[in-house]
Symmetry: D3
Subunit: 269 residues, 6 copies
């Protein structure tokens, strides 16, 4: 069967998620251009390799040439001091959308994050229209990205699906991830829906499997057609209930979990 | 097993949906009175045939005599110049409710349409409380019908279920119908629920199967007990994703799809 | 000072409101074309007179020629049997918008009615996004008009301000009108705002003065810039409080007031 | 496998639900303390028996000593004159929370009721944020309980899950219960989720199986992780549809069903 | 001018607010029956005196005989241990509504309190549909009263206006009262509106003047026609701004103010 | 009368708004520290002058030393290429909040902008909870600032009032500003309220006078106590209504007005 696209770009291809996605995204295009600031090894069949610093405007412009659609997984994905986050996630995002605009690329799938809303409580139900409450510099940088892509849709008609990805690991690493878990298969299916839906405008969706405990209501993205197949129930026994966590445990109170402890509150000299 | 009603009336019995429903609705009543302006052939066992122009007030009054409940599928179901729509869908609707009122009939199931909201975008999630946005004269006539039946409920206690039917065909005819598809079995089940629920007041429901891509949120009709059994996933491969549709393609932008091109904008001399 | 328009059309110029508005609207245009099915007397300076049946498509087309904007006050404004309402308020509305479309007229101000929502209770607060609940055939015909004009905006970009007019009389005639009263001056100012605001899209506004008792929340039309100067407080002593009305008095329960008793429930042979 | 708690308290252990839960709740703790004003028979292995009048403050204080969490099913569960409801459900609730507070117990699961909202209509969809509309003194007493526990959370950080339990019987006893049915297994699972979720704050949830006809939207409690396994579809044939109920049948109009006929309207001398 | 009522009942006539209202309410009725558990002195012209314990069912029944409408200001109005609150505000409220029901009285104006929502933050905007968050036993007892009166409206058609009164004192006693202040004149006008509006159903309104700082949105009671004439701006200079209050000052964080420190947290032996 | 603060900091003191505010803000503190990257002239009595580049972390840290509260008007306030906006409005904002955090400053008043929501239409009513829709890089940078300050409130308890300032000029420069106008006096009063309210948490408010035409609903900031005294009605005659603007005039369609034409769409080599 022919593939839906001729060439798509996957940024962040050397990162944690990028490496997992490198194989599966080949189903979406005849050629997958892989980009990262780090080394990605040899190009395999159907791959192109572009090493690129997102903060380098001209390099980003070249990276986007001839591309039909972008899966933007590049940038910093943890809490760090602000400077590297600014370069990769803020300046890099501006560079990307200027390049997308100039090359006439029609759609971007942007790896946003649940940390855009990490200061909601674990008893809250959040949907895509509610005010954002990031849990650190990383989260604020993703708010910037969502807002920038909204502007590019409203003003220039460039479509973006912002996926607020939960926790995409083979297994949940802690009890919180029973709520935020997304399997790799579900994430790949969500990418497929995001890339191929006839029209997405500016859609914000929550990247999460069909877990028993739910924090996020994806009703505003149901047009994408994403139906998760996996859920975290099978991992529940890894985290047996016991005593209640301490009442002042930020990682239990807030959806952001451990990120609450890794943000800008620590000395950054 | 005995049937829930003695006699129900199915209007529009010679129309596209009416012909498909003629058989299945026999499960709902000992006698099904079939009505249409067109020829319906011979009455079968358990059937009564009444040829009737909905614009003829006296004929409609006679048509409704002795009936326990009405399935109102009569009228025009495509975009046409306004005159025939007015006669069948507006005057006909008034005639019907006056007759229902005079005969003391307690409940009507009204075939409304997704074209009452066809000017919402394909990225919108619409529920039953949101303002209507019809996509042509046909859609506006269905808005009239929903509003008239709301009045008859508020003022006289006559119950109506308005079903905003999606696309009831054996197979989707285009990619849009992956979102609007309803199988005949699901539609029949929805009719059953609408007819037999103990109390419906004035309920607006969306007639659609459990499709992956969802535009409509049926939360305000969950009391009916309708649980769709089918979905359009099995037809997805009929419409492989390819290049994005033109940015100005009204049939992709708006939920109304092709109806956007068949409305009153064309010369109607 | 020069007037904002060259020529505007006032339909229903021989009706109750039309006669009151005939003078004041002259401030809005060099020429006011007055139209009605009834006799309007002689044209005064700055006036043109066109006698026209709204149900006559060709006559309506001629009526609209050369017009910059329309104040549509024509049609039936009380509860009657359905036939005349259909001709004037439904067919007439379609004829008007087809003519507006063909002549490239950019904006209509439509005299809708509080009877589009007369089945809300007098303890309800209604805004422009809530589902309509008409209180009779007249109210349903105005729902049709609002919905038709919404379609013409969504599909063709013709702007309409729908004014759900309360009770525009020199004095309230009953206690209900303490809530629905709008002075003529306030109505004229609301027309001025509706005609001259730079952009109105499809705006629904409530035509009511700044009365102490409020049923309608106009928040979705605040962009028009209408600030009422009058209110009904000065009339309160005309209706001293006394015993409570009977518990089953429809005119007290529902916002529609006396219209509840004049609708289709009576024999209409 | 070790059990999540050392000792939990089940009040109302001799009541209708209490007797059914006595066995299953043993999975939640090494020791289950059973309490009731009525006789509960002999303590079985892993059980402690405390006979206690909830209106007796000191007794309630002793009842709560050494407990990790409380399942509060005690009190009156039907419509009666107000005095016994006040003693058991109002004074008893205050006594319980004062004891919980003094002993430092962290969490309560409170058996609230669908009768806190029994005056909503059977065509309404109710969620946990909507104003309560009780259907009698019993319902009002449960409103008190929900509100008191909200205060204890807001002010003192004591967590409560309020379960608005539907109808927990082996089989629905009437057609209404097709909407309100919850199987015992589903109720036990909901208790397990309520007891063991890492953080619940003050959660209001609807205790109901996955029935076809739905009146309640549990979206604000999805963090609990409760996924019902049963539904009432298998009982539908017990209540075949027939003639519509009388239009003024309170038990069909309102969600409270038969409770509408057992409240304070009857002489209570 | 004749007065709107023949006889109204004012309970709590010896209390803080009752004494202030005793004079002004004479404008509402030919006879004002004053009731309290405490001594009220001699009856003046147009007054009747009834000493009555609200917890005494028979006495309450007699107190209500021959009355057209009730202003219910009786009961405990501060934070105390639960027993007296239960007797006066809970049992007393039930006794009152049973008496109102039996005597066929059509309307009650109930002095509810801002302490039904005292655990909202001083940066929150609260309206009448939001979940209640009381700040102590007093507040919870008022939640009970609002809920009980809702039941009597839904089930028996007895109308109630619940006034969540702010702070009715000659002058604000602290900075918080700049937000909660209501002048006596405004309160009297709100009582007049509540008593004389043609229909109120079950209305919840906020008893507050037109103060610059607003915590409560009265939009759902605008039908009453209450327009406050006073505001707290003139008192602002009594409380000059200075250093910010301590971050953990409950009386600044929560709307309930000082009540946060007087509730059930203190030993109550 | 003593002033509420000992020392406040006004950043951007050499900018358009800063120069106007330099005098009036002296009422708020014994000492006003003025900061800007540009020259501010001589310090007057009660002033301190600090020249500071917001992108210089150490300089910002020094700038904030000994300050009780911050009025942050610094940064770029027009549409420019992204680099200077990033330095001043993004990196500068991070530097400011890190300094505020380290020095224990309790409150910031942040000059956000209506351009955070410039892509809403001029017929929309926007409130503080709706998703942001910036109209260019400047607007996106202000979204970043609002989100960063939300994080510092949620995580560290540092209070911020974000003022989405409209158009603060002596006179409106065009018709759009009849909707966005705020007088200098009203802005100063809003600053006073924002600085001195006992508690603001993270408040978003709209900086606009009481104009006839309203786009923004400030209900979520009513606790601040800001009551505008001025409005734009007196300027209306400067912009007489005439022909409607072209249908595709972005500056009429969108709230952002002329900013729509100055953003990143132009070549920026």
């Amino acid at each position: 069967m022919s593939k839906p696209f001729r060439r798509i770009l996957l940024t962040g291809a050397a990162g944690g998620l990028g490496r997992q996605l490198r194989g599966p995204v080949k189903d979406f295009a005849d050629v997958v251009r892989l980009a990262d600031i780090a080394d990605m090894g040899e190009a395999q069949e159907g791959e192109e390799i572009v090493q690129c610093d997102l903060a380098d405007r001209d390099a980003v412009l070249r990276m986007c040439e001839g591309v039909d659609a972008v899966l933007h997984f590049g940038g910093i994905s943890t809490e760090t001091p602000f400077a590297p986050i600014m370069n990769a996630n803020i300046l890099g995002m501006v560079n990307l959308y200027e390049a997308v605009h100039k090359h006439g690329i029609r759609r971007v799938v942007f790896a946003s994050s649940n940390h855009t809303m990490g200061m909601y409580r674990t008893t809250d139900m959040v949907d895509a229209t509610m005010p954002l409450r990031p849990d650190g510099y990383y989260g604020v940088s993703k708010v910037f990205g969502e807002s920038l892509s909204r502007f590019y849709w409203d003003r220039f008609g460039i479509e973006t699906v912002c996926i607020r990805i939960g926790s995409c690991f083979p297994e949940p690493a802690n009890r919180r991830m029973l709520s935020t878990y997304i399997s790799l298969d579900d994430l790949v299916e969500l990418l497929r829906c995001s890339l191929t839906a006839p029209r997405v405008g500016h859609t914000i969706t929550f990247g999460v499997s069909d877990n028993p405990s739910v924090w996020w209501d994806d009703r505003h993205a149901r047009h994408l057609g994403f139906v998760p197949k996996d859920n975290s129930a099978k991992f529940a026994s890894m985290f047996p209930a016991g005593d209640y966590p301490p009442v002042d445990d930020l990682a239990t109170i807030y959806q952001g979990g451990g990120f609450l402890y890794s943000g800008p509150q620590y000395p950054q000299e």
